[in-house]
């Protein structure tokens, strides 16, 4: 109850004309930056940090918080419309968002699903943050290396092996993605590895250009095959059934029934994942999608199912909210973006930690209240721009090819400020295209690439703590439960082909 009163006082701080304006500006800029492939929330927050210098600390952090938050919405736009995730948490959204927009011809509804699920996930995250923020942060601290290892093993196996129909191919691509991620510098010892004498490879393969290529450029190569049929359709004056209005993008009651359960589940799960140090919104969205795989979806996941879009989008927004718990209550950033926000807080003379809620209640609760505002503002702005966004899909395919290629090249360049990023994008695009062409799923490669460094760090730390004993993964209760779930998933995946064969014989 006390927290509820403090939240209302926070709204008193946040609801000034200047703070509302800052929140709105942060929401709009965040949406634009989030939708730009290659920029992402980390670069977006860092780039726009100087804009906040003119404000007082509360206003500045409110704007940065809104910017960070709306980034999560924006990342889904390009993922759904162009199959290019604006940011790494939106990678999973491409799996169902793009097929829903193109194959099922429901681009407006796909965007509306993403917006609504993001809003629901965000609200759940913020309510939990309001009432359990400091407590959650402490729970997150109970997750040591062994717990994180077990959690990440579940995340990787759930998605990688079950995304495709073929577990062996999924395993090949997962392992390939992990090896690519291990190139560069060993994060624990700092020793170079698998750099093959190349100066650029010392820094490893940059994630954003890699994902822009594997998803975006690979998509452009495939898109050329749709050009002729698209031309024929236009020649016949076939009516474009894309509805360019907010009303035409509205979800039906049935859609909402399908959307709400996964959004609620992912909202709770995402908040919890967001609280864990180093897990972040990307892990949250992958976990949300993996959990949805265990539940029934009306359409199969990966074919444009509303449930898939809702699960990933709600989870990543909830994780973004959950990440504020350790940031504010313990001074521990959950991600790179959190670290930039932490730097911003310290720049304005605030010391995040257990005493922040006591020493600076006006600021803390003002920030949490502003996150509620940002969630609402971003939803309104995001819904209003849908008619303009879905016009992108009415552009002829033959014009989209050079435009998307340019966006891929420029986006890949902007992340590294070097042509190395563009070359990585190009190579991963060709590899992604060859994998798709030969029925090897490329999604597990992206998942393992992003999660492998966190997994390796935690696994090695766990072994160092235990002196090399595997017992550490079964002694602590949380780890033990998570490991049993992991082993259950592996066992089921291996037995599934045999079970299916027996079932077919019957």
């Amino acid at each position: 109850m006390e927290n509820f009163v403090m939240l209302f006082q926070g709204f008193g701080t946040a609801l000034t004309p200047v703070n509302i304006g800052a929140c709105l500006l942060g929401a709009v800029l965040g949406l634009v930056v989030g939708a730009m492939p290659g920029i992402g929330s980390l670069a977006g927050v860092a780039l726009l940090l100087p804009l906040t210098y003119k404000f007082n600390p509360a206003t500045a952090i409110i704007m940065l918080g809104a910017l960070y938050y709306s980034n999560m919405y924006g990342g889904a736009f390009s993922a759904i419309l162009l199959n290019i995730p604006g940011d790494s948490p939106a990678v999973v959204t491409t799996l169902d968002g793009y097929p829903m927009a193109t194959k099922r011809k429901r681009p407006g509804q796909a965007l509306m699903t993403a917006n609504t699920a993001s809003f629901i996930g965000g609200i759940i995250g913020m309510i939990i943050l309001t009432f359990m923020g400091p407590g959650l942060a402490n729970l997150g601290l109970k997750f040591g290396p062994s717990e994180m290892t077990a959690l990440l093993l579940i995340a990787m196996t759930s998605i990688s092996w079950l995304v495709g129909e073929n577990p062996i191919k999924g395993l090949v691509i997962t392992a390939f993605g992990i090896l690519l991620a291990s190139m560069g510098m060993d994060t624990l010892s700092g020793a170079p590895r698998y750099e093959f004498g190349n100066m650029y490879l010392l820094g490893g393969i940059p994630f954003t250009p890699f994902v822009i290529g594997a998803v975006g450029f690979a998509q452009v190569i495939n898109l050329i095959n749709e050009r002729d049929s698209d031309n024929e359709k236009r020649a016949k004056n076939a009516k474009n059934d894309t509805k360019l209005s907010i009303r035409g993008s509205m979800l039906t009651g049935h859609d909402l029934k399908r959307l709400i359960p996964p959004a609620l589940r992912s909202g709770f799960l995402g908040t919890f994942v967001g609280v864990l140090p180093g897990a972040g919104a990307t892990t949250g969205s992958f976990m949300g999608y993996a959990i949805q795989k265990k539940f029934k979806s009306e359409e199969e996941l990966g074919t444009g199912a509303i449930e898939g879009v809702a699960a990933s989008e709600a989870a990543n927004n909830a994780a973004a909210a959950g990440a504020f718990a350790p940031l504010l209550a313990l001074g521990i950033p959950g991600s790179g973006t959190g670290a930039v926000l932490l730097g911003g807080l310290m720049m304005w003379g605030l010391s995040p930690g257990p005493l922040l809620f006591e020493n600076e209640p006006e600021f803390c609760w003002g920030l949490i209240a502003s996150l509620f505002m940002a969630n609402l503002f971003t939803l309104v702005v995001a819904v209003c721009v849908i008619p303009f966004l879905i016009k992108i899909l009415s552009v002829p395919v033959k014009y989209m090819i050079p435009i998307i290629t340019v966006v891929c090249v420029v986006g890949a360049y902007s992340t590294s400020n070097s042509m190395y990023g563009v070359i990585v994008m190009f190579i991963s695009g060709v590899v992604g295209y060859l994998l798709n062409k030969n029925n090897f799923p490329s999604a597990p490669m992206l998942l393992s690439f992003v999660l492998a460094p966190i997994l390796e760090d935690n696994m090695r730390k766990a072994f160092i703590i235990s002196g090399g004993s595997l017992g550490i993964f079964f002694q602590r209760p949380i780890t033990c439960v998570l490991m049993l779930i992991f082993l259950g998933i592996v066992g089921f995946s291996m037995l599934r082909p045999m079970l299916m064969k027996k079932k077919a014989e019957k």
């Binding site: 340019v406 360049y413 030969n438």
Partner: protein
Amino acid sequence: MKKIGSKQLIPLATALVGIVFAVIGFTQLGFWDKEPKPGFFPSIIAIVLVIASIAAFFQTLKEEEHPKYNKNEVTVILGGLALIVGTFLVGLIPMVFFYVLFWLKVIEKGTPWRDIIIIELIVAVIVLGVFAGWLQVQFPWGMFEMIG
């Protein structure tokens, strides 16, 4: 004997990658010395990759479907490659505009000039307006940098 196509070449390539990573991991990076060394995790994964690749290779031999490649797909890849090579010569911004013009006028024959101008304007808004102007990305200018 069954003909080997790209479906079989992919697991063969990943198996090769696995062997290279495992050998480097065990021989150069170190696997275990009282604690896990830099080669520990990648070496284990490399072995898993080799085993899974061999299984995938035999599995693909049973598959009947073969992927079909067409020259249009190669054109897109070559277009992307030309854009990268051209960037080293004249810089990214001029090359991007030239690439769009070349694609629409030469590859997509018969694109009206009005459409080309509109698309070039969209590209200008994205590249110059957002990335170069607002986000202050410093794009390379190829040999023009020497003039500057």
